[in-house]
């Protein structure tokens, strides 16, 4: 059987493309100009409370030490923190663990100081309209699986009741090894309620070897399903072909691109290694463990939050040829639509599978790209 999602084998790319040549196409140039306006974003993340109203298997928050941090519930402490963050250049905040909707008064304070950001929530409690951040609502499978993994009854219906038609909301379907086919049950319901959806790939917390952890076969199957759904629901799914490739490769994001977050990046010269902090609910932070989803097993990390920074930061590697650059643009366009309020994604420029480029250095000055013979079935390209 011919697999239409296979990455075609490519011959050596002997042409050395100039950046200006890659921008010669007007659609490409337009998308480049659109996304680069957001290069000013400087992010940090914040655990808002150590409490959650549900308890999910494989939850990142309840791994490691951060779960034992006491809560700081004083709005003025948070206000002061946000003011200090602004001073050091942070202009985009991600409010996460354990469940931010339990502390709406703190969300209000954060929003009043830094008005661009996003919240990761289980969606069971509506966050006040006045907090105009993107809200990511986590979906982990059908009703049966949600009951089993998250111990929450009718969660999807509650999420839809709370966020149907809400321009802040993006539903994030996390593909685990176990729930891949279930997305076909969930998607029609979300689409029927005009919800927008993006995809995440379960990335094991450190030490986790339970049933949700992906293997090569489940990653490839996830990719196939993502692309199938993208074809079926292009108006409701915020995703790109390259997003699917980057997040379902047999190799994790760090090995593919080199993670930019301090936990895996010792450099403090520039970028996330210099400015990113991950605050606990007591407002403390520790550079040595700072990343977007702390306590993830870095070798297994394919998290959508990580990719938004890690893949984007590797612009340099993606200027090798038109397909690769356009795939990167689609990826960044996707990430901005998922993470930034009022940013609308455009149609993808590159609707084919492109392998992530390898790091270029002076030893490969000739920019000869090695042949890419990888297929969806083999999964060896990454």
């Amino acid at each position: 059987m011919v697999n239409k999602d296979a990455i075609p084998a490519a011959g050596p790319n002997i042409k050395k493309w100039k950046f200006s040549e890659l921008l010669a196409d007007q659609d490409v140039k337009q998308k480049w100009e659109k996304v680069r306006r957001y290069f000013f974003l400087r992010e940090s993340t914040y655990d808002m409370t150590n409490r959650c109203n549900i308890r999910c298997d494989g939850c990142y928050y309840y791994e490691g030490e951060k779960q034992f941090s006491p809560d700081n519930r004083h709005p003025e402490s948070w206000r002061k923190l946000m003011q200090e963050e602004k001073k050091r250049g942070i202009n985009y905040i991600v409010l996460a663990g354990a469940e931010p909707s339990l502390v709406p008064e703190l969300l209000e304070v954060c929003y009043s100081e830094i008005p661009i950001g996003s919240i990761a929530s289980n969606g069971s409690i509506r966050i006040p309209d006045s907090v105009r951040y993107r809200i990511h609502i986590s979906v982990w499978g059908n009703e049966e699986t949600t009951m089993r993994v998250r111990k929450a009854r009718n969660l999807l219906q509650k999420q839809i009741n709370n966020y149907e038609g809400d321009p802040r909301a993006v539903f994030v379907y996390t593909f685990t090894k176990e729930n891949i086919d279930e997305v076909y049950e969930v998607m029609p319901t979300l689409v029927q309620h005009n919800c927008r959806i993006t995809f995440n790939v379960f990335s094991s917390p450190e030490g986790y070897h339970g049933p949700l952890r992906h293997d090569e076969a489940s990653l490839l199957k996830s990719r196939r399903v993502m692309l199938d759904l993208l074809r079926q629901y292009p108006d409701h799914i915020i995703f790109s072909w390259y997003s699917a490739v980057a997040h379902t490769s047999s190799t994790g994001l760090h090995s593919l691109f080199g993670c930019s977050y301090p936990r895996m990046n010792k450099s403090t010269d520039i970028g996330l290694g210099r400015s990113f902090r991950q605050y606990r609910s007591d407002l403390s932070w520790d550079r040595s463990i700072a990343c977007c989803v702390p306590d993830t097993d870095c070798e297994d990390c394919r998290h959508y939050a990580a990719g938004s920074a890690v893949v984007t930061a590797r612009l340099h590697r993606h200027v090798t040829d038109p397909d690769t650059f356009q795939s990167w643009l689609d990826y960044v366009d996707t990430y901005l639509a998922v993470w930034v309020m009022d940013y609308e994604k455009e149609k993808n420029l590159c609707n084919k599978l492109v392998a992530p480029p390898e790091k270029q250095n002076s030893l490969s000055e000739a920019f000869i790209t090695p042949p890419r013979h990888n297929t969806l079935e083999s999964g060896k390209f990454a």
């Binding site: 950046f19 290069f39 930019s260 520039i270 930061a313 612009l315 790091k359 002076s362």
Partner: protein
């Protein structure tokens, strides 16, 4: 500084100003020792953009690992000069 070096520094300043839309500075007045990160607030994506245009302009390849070295216009000019003068 030779006239050639000065021309290169002004040209790099033009590119930085153009790409980063630094409307308040002219290329001639741009202090070539101004630190991009600490004094101009430039971050990694801005720098990556500048680097891509510089690669086109001078037909060189700039390694990802060398980005942190490119902290100001003078350092960029030195780097480019070295690249141009080093046979591939």
């Amino acid at each position: 500084m030779s006239a050639e070096d000065r021309t290169m520094i002004v040209r790099i300043a033009e590119i930085v100003i153009d790409e980063l839309k630094l409307q308040d500075i002219t290329p001639e007045a741009f202090d070539p020792g101004l630190d991009f990160v600490d004094e101009l607030g430039i971050d990694s994506m801005d720098l990556a953009t500048v680097v891509l245009v510089l690669q086109d302009e001078y037909s060189i390849t700039i390694d990802e690992d060398d980005y942190p070295k490119l902290r100001n216009i003078r350092l960029i000019a030195d780097y480019i000069t070295q690249k141009i003068n080093t046979p591939a």
